[in-house]
């Protein structure tokens, strides 16, 4: 089929409406878009205008599912954010010189994927350079992201225009970058063009932007070439028609080259594209602010170019992007025609190929300003090719200069999708490449930008603005199922009241026994009678949270009835009173190996237990996997040696909180002998310093899943760095009271520990932006988060939490006084898994939030007077003896 080529449109007066391909990203104002949707191709595409355009498209990308770009901004403001869309670079598209960016937009509910394709300059003969070619690629993977992007930002429209430009990233990795590039390109171009003629340069593509084949065409209007492919062709024709139409206005604008792939996909996307046309209302051009005219280059599928670089689906669409803002397109398209059917929609799909130009991210921001300028230039005629060439040269130079700045992709796009960029991670303290740093940069830039421009963005870039309004009254809120007492709970409470009347606990499952025992201990109703019930027979698990009522004699007497051969879990917390060394001989350490299957032993508070006693205990329980020796103040480092010698190969969990006589550096050699240590609690131990952490972690930190460093105040960022680098499987981390840590720690954690589920901060001096950036990169798997007393927590964190913390079920924001009702409302309404929210000390919270939030499941404690004991963290009674592995794993 014939490939329709866009050709230059004649000078304004005469030219039919040039293919004002509307950049995909360029959603015309709402008024425009609907019109544009209906615009049809008026005349057969000019074709033959520029053979070069044919050669342009080189990247065949199939677009399985073109997505319509969002027409977005009603105001026609182009949002640079669309860069994000571009970020989804097609993986496959590694063309030699081309980079493909996939950008998806939502346009009128349709998603169009726009892929940026870089065009080889030489191939494009248009003008002096290559026309920016955008390619539509239907990358499946990209879609999701695009959707997200589109949905998130609703940017659509604006973003598109500028974003579309993106494309080309130099490599897949740089996808995001591509977006930026696009956006920026136009920006520059706008700037450059202040004077007048508008280079068509696909803004995005920067250098490559071929001045629309319009060499010589005064206004450089591009004709849209549409491949004559069947379906696609049809549409293309329509598009071309646009070009044809060029009524007058076109002249002003650059020519848009649209090459539609004959592919079906193309067709589809074409359709979408068409629909997403820019609104034809010429008058609205101003509003449209097409940042770039997007040239859509449709290539015949037979085109050799398309073969392959990307190897992705069959068709590809190339779009060359014009710098001309929408206005141009619109103007052109709408040209004199009433039907304006400028399928500027095509523009939506226009992908500009990007070459090496990588505009700096900041340019994106400037783009908008540029957009405005573009509007102003709307009526400017394009200069002829000569000028364009100059522009192109300039752009190329600029691109070259800026390329190095873009070694990293723009994090903004990434924020939308959770795809971690493939960036080399340099473990330098000062410089943390990776998603975290990019996120941080975005925050900071956003904050600056906000201050500069007072845009009405919502989202990350607008720290001061959290949009949330209370949606319901307290009484309307559905009563959560969790708040209705279950029959089990009711029974337990009755039993706790009448524990003395219980005769036997036979056939009661362990989980229920534990719950009952805990209830009794909490209410101080535990006594010998119940204790005997618990240890009667041959129990497998005995848990007592509080043995402070138990005397030595009672303990000895009751325990002697117990057949301990089946005991797997024994918890005797607060047993200081009843467990001196000499008791062990008659109870727990009757003989060597008398506790053959004991997996988990907790003797916290055994303040009369000495090294000798521990030795005896250890010899009777050789299979011990979890040992809790919290507050055993008589133990010294020699007991750890004993442990290491007998349990070094099996011990998984070691709790040493507040063992005051233990010195960390002295136990270091012993600790290094534990081969499978997964849980280590070190608060309150003397001399936990950076040196200790470094040595221990590098020796044995690989298996660590839980590391609790509360109050080890000597630790600094370098410890966190080591932890992040080594403990990639870390699930729980506690950095409470470590006031020497700075934001760098968050950076290390974001880059290193990707699977963190429980995170406890308190009194740390982290900044709002850093926490927000951390959440953006690692927030998805977080289940419990404590930001207690992190004074700077504010709107940025709230927004990041709302966006990225889907699995969060427990959140502590006590003493965070910078959080407003709106911020909390946003968090609570967005974190749908949230069950517990602690707000102690948040005196700024009012009923606006407390009664207005619409999350029925969440329990808010700390604001009003509510009983809280049962909300204190208790071990899950149904959980196994080990937190992170099962007993059978050796």
């Amino acid at each position: 089929m014939t490939v329709l080529r866009s050709r230059e449109i004649a000078p304004p007066k005469t030219t039919p409406q040039g293919p004002k391909t509307r950049p995909k990203s360029d959603p015309s104002t709402p008024a425009e878009t609907p019109e544009s949707v209906t615009t049809t191709t008026t005349t057969p595409p000019p074709l033959n205008s520029t053979p070069s355009s044919q050669s342009q498209s080189q990247n065949p990308n199939s677009n399985p599912n073109p997505k319509a770009t969002d027409s977005g901004s009603a105001t026609g403001l182009l949002r640079r954010r669309s860069l994000r869309l571009a970020s989804k670079t097609p993986e496959g598209s590694a063309k030699r010189n081309t980079q493909i960016d996939e950008v998806g937009f939502d346009l009128f509910g349709e998603r169009v994927t726009v892929m940026g394709v870089e065009k080889r300059a030489e191939e494009l003969k248009l003008g002096s350079g290559l026309d920016p070619v955008t390619r539509l690629s239907g990358k499946g993977s990209g879609f999701g992201e695009e959707e997200k992007v589109g949905v998130d930002e609703g940017l659509t429209e604006l973003g598109l225009s500028s974003d579309l430009g993106v494309l080309g990233g130099n490599s897949e990795e740089k996808k995001k970058r591509k977006l930026d590039i696009d956006i920026n390109l136009p920006a520059w171009e706008c700037e450059e063009e202040d004077g007048g003629s508008k280079p068509f340069l696909s803004l995005r593509s920067g250098k490559r932007v071929a001045k629309p084949g319009v060499d010589g065409v005064g206004n450089g209007e591009w004709v849209i070439d549409l491949s004559a492919d069947k379906s696609g062709g049809v549409k293309s024709k329509g598009e071309c028609g646009r070009g044809e139409r060029g009524k007058g206005k076109l002249g002003e604008n650059s020519i848009y080259v649209v090459v539609l792939d004959s592919d079906e996909e193309v067709e589809r996307s074409g359709e979408n594209v068409f629909q997403s046309d820019l609104p034809s209302g010429g008058s609205s051009t101003g509003k449209r602010k097409l940042s770039d005219a997007i040239e859509i280059v449709v290539e015949d599928s037979e085109d050799e170019m398309s073969s392959g670089e990307n190897g992705v689906n069959e068709g590809r669409r190339k779009y060359s992007r014009q710098e001309k803002g929408k206005e141009k397109l619109v103007g052109g398209a709408l040209l004199s025609n009433d039907d304006d059917k400028v399928e500027l929609g095509l523009g939506l799909e226009v992908l500009s190929s990007l070459h090496n130009v990588v505009p700096s991210p900041t340019q994106i921001r400037e783009n908008e300003a540029l957009q405005d300028e573009m509007q102003a230039r709307n009526s400017n005629r394009r200069e002829n090719g000569r000028d364009r060439n100059q522009y192109m040269e300039r752009f190329r130079d600029i691109a070259r200069q800026n390329a190095s700045r873009f070694a990293r992709f723009d994090p903004r796009e990434e924020e939308e999708n959770d795809m971690p960029p493939q960036v080399d991670v340099e473990q330098d303290v000062e410089d943390w490449p990776g998603p975290f740093s990019t996120a941080m940069r975005i925050m900071r830039d956003g904050a600056e930008k906000n201050m500069q421009e007072q845009r009405a963005y919502t989202g990350k870039t607008k720290p001061a603005l959290v949009n949330w309004v209370p949606k319901c009254q307290e009484q309307d809120r559905a009563i959560s199922k969790n708040l209705i007492p279950s029959l089990q709970e009711l029974c337990l409470s009755v039993l706790a009241m009448n524990a003395d009347a219980i005769v036997s606990l036979e056939s009661v499952p362990d989980a229920l026994r534990h719950q009952l025992s805990h209830l009794l201990c909490d209410s101080r109703r535990m006594n010998t009678h119940f204790f005997e019930l618990l240890v009667q027979g041959s129990p497998t698990e005995v848990r007592l949270r509080d043995c402070s009522w138990l005397t030595e004699e009672e303990f000895t007497k009751s325990f002697q009835q117990c057949d301990i051969s089946n005991l797997t879990v024994l918890q005797l917390d607060q047993c200081g009173r009843c467990l001196p060394d000499y008791i062990l001989n008659s109870t727990l350490a009757r003989s060597s190996n008398c506790l053959p299957v004991l997996t988990s032993l907790s003797l916290s508070g055994a303040c009369r237990l000495s090294d000798v006693g521990l030795g005896a205990l250890v010899s009777s329980a050789p299979a011990l996997r979890s040992l809790n020796l919290s507050q055993c103040s008589l133990l010294t480092s020699s007991s750890i040696d004993t442990l290491a010698n007998s349990l070094g190969s099996v011990l998984r969990e070691l709790y040493l909180n507040d063992c005051q006589s233990i010195n960390a550096m002295l136990i270091l050699p012993a600790l290094e002998k534990f081969e499978h240590l997964e849980v280590l609690w070190l608060p309150g131990i003397e001399n936990v310093c950076d040196d200790f952490i470094k040595k221990f972690i590098t020796a044995r930190g690989h298996n660590l899943k839980e590391l609790i460093l509360t109050n080890c105040i000597n630790l600094t960022d370098s410890s966190v760095k080591v932890i992040a680098e080594t403990c990639s499987g870390l699930c729980a981390l506690d950095l409470v009271d470590l006031h020497k840590l700075t934001d760098s720690s968050l950076g290390y954690l974001a880059n290193g520990c990707r699977a963190i589920q429980t995170l406890k901060f308190r009194q740390n001096s982290f900044s709002d932006e850093a926490i927000a950036a951390f959440l953006e990169t690692s927030g998805e798997c977080l289940k419990e988060l404590s930001l207690n007393n992190i004074k700077k927590v504010g709107d940025n964190t709230a927004i990041s939490l709302a966006r990225h913390s889907r699995s969060l079920h427990s959140l502590d924001l006590s003493w965070c006084r910078n959080l407003t009702d709106e911020a909390l409302g946003l968090i609570v309404d967005s974190c749908l898994s949230l069950k517990m929210l602690k707000l102690f000390g948040c005196t700024q919270i009012t009923d606006l939030f407390l009664c207005g939030h619409s999350n029925p499941e969440v329990k808010i404690i700390g604001v009003k007077m509510t009983p809280i004991l049962k909300d204190v963290k208790v071990p899950d009674p149904a959980a196994g003896p080990l937190h992170y592995s099962s007993i059978s794993s050796t």
Binding site: I484, L487, C491, V494, N498, V508, P509, A511
Partner: protein, 98 residues
Amino acid sequence: MKKEDTVKLISAEGFEFVVHKDAAMVSQTIRNMLTSPGGFAETEHGEVTFPEISTTILEKICKYFYWNLQFASGKQTEFHIEPELTLELMMAANYLHT
């Protein structure tokens, strides 16, 4: 009560308690039995048998179901449990996940 929205809960001794489906669904176990696509006999006939739950306990459980629905709809009263039943009731409740 229409046949369609009731289920029959049968105790160990063979007593049959006919309750509303909504009430029975308070129990997660029963809900799974009745709604799972596995083609359980229970789903088809709308009958669930509990060979290890005695009649008095099952009766109390049915009362709990209705109490639960009432609580959720706003009327929040106290649910009294006779102490002698409690241990068994607790185990049955644990089994029924309610």
